[in-house]
């Protein structure tokens, strides 16, 4: 799994801001 994303600057009084992330999950598909 890999993840990239961006985090918005926190609003006043917040510790961390909202985030938008893209994930790529890699997995194997068994034979039918």
């Amino acid at each position: 799994m890999s993840m990239t994303g961006k985090v918005r600057k926190p609003a006043s009084g917040e510790i961390a801001g909202t985030a938008e992330n893209d994930f790529i999950l890699t997995y194997t598909v068994p034979p039918k």
Partner: protein, 146 residues
Amino acid sequence: MATRRLKSAVGTHRYTINFGVAHGVCNRSRAETMKLQVSNAVMKAERSPVGDVEGHALIFLMREGSMRLENGELGSMKALVVNKTIPTGTLFVGYLVLTFADSSTIVMSLQEGKFSVAPEGEFAGPQEAKGEYLVEVEGLKGSRER
């Protein structure tokens, strides 16, 4: 290994997540990828300064949000993350739980996460991480399989 069903453009399939210990079990398996986008907000946060230099702190964050798979399926996500912040950025580790529309879940660890502070602009900065599947059980939560 554990499995879950995912609906794709060509029908419903049962995918097997490779936990790393199953390499070579079936040499006819094929690798595929699934892309998804997540929007999330901080639901709980606690910041504790280390006390040595300004800006050095540990932060526990619980993030929750929604996810959208590339096939249009919707779901939710929850992340438990510990951040180590320094003035120029953040390193983080944690766990990520993806819950799909059929209530199946994928639990992953987040490793070697990095967050760089952008000097200007709307965003505080980009982040990136890699992870490893911990448990992925169809219709069940709370079990663990490796």
